[in-house]
Symmetry: C2
Subunit: 66 residues, 2 copies
Amino acid sequence: MKNIKMKVARIERDMKQEDLARAVGVTRQTIGLIEAGKYNPSLKLCIAICKALGKTLDELFWEETP
Amino acid sequence: MKNIKMKVARIERDMKQEDLARAVGVTRQTIGLIEAGKYNPSLKLCIAICKALGKTLDELFWEETP
DNA sequence: TTAAAATGCAATATATATTTTGCATTATGT
DNA sequence: ACATAATGCAAAATATATATTGCATTTTAA
């Protein structure tokens, strides 16, 4: 399932996929695949993304995978 | 870092590690290692654990890995 | 409408989460 | 104190997240 909330939060901060990737220490492709719902990211990465985007786990990742 | 919140939530529900493991479809060892802070679980598994324990991601996993 | 940037996509390689099995240690109840 | 259940621990095997590279396609801005 696509993670539209994460994409919206990223765009709200005017960040490109590559900006977010650099901010959290992964590749641009990893960010793209998470937004596309094709990856099942690790908790640590989820938390790093949340902090980079000023959101919490519940705000970005809850109910993502029911 | 040990996930004491997860362990407390499990014990509140009077579940053994093996009970929780079966409820979320992983091994007892996986649950033990997550509680011991030696694993970096996947988002899907975190969500499954939350639902099994009646908690949210923020309640069990936030600030776990700063 | 073009050029450049951003994103999508796919194959292979690598790192690491998870499984499996077995045994040691600790907790729990009687 | 004893028996049993629950948990810890460790090695090898497997599954899967992530990296890397390269190119196709879409968006964006001039």
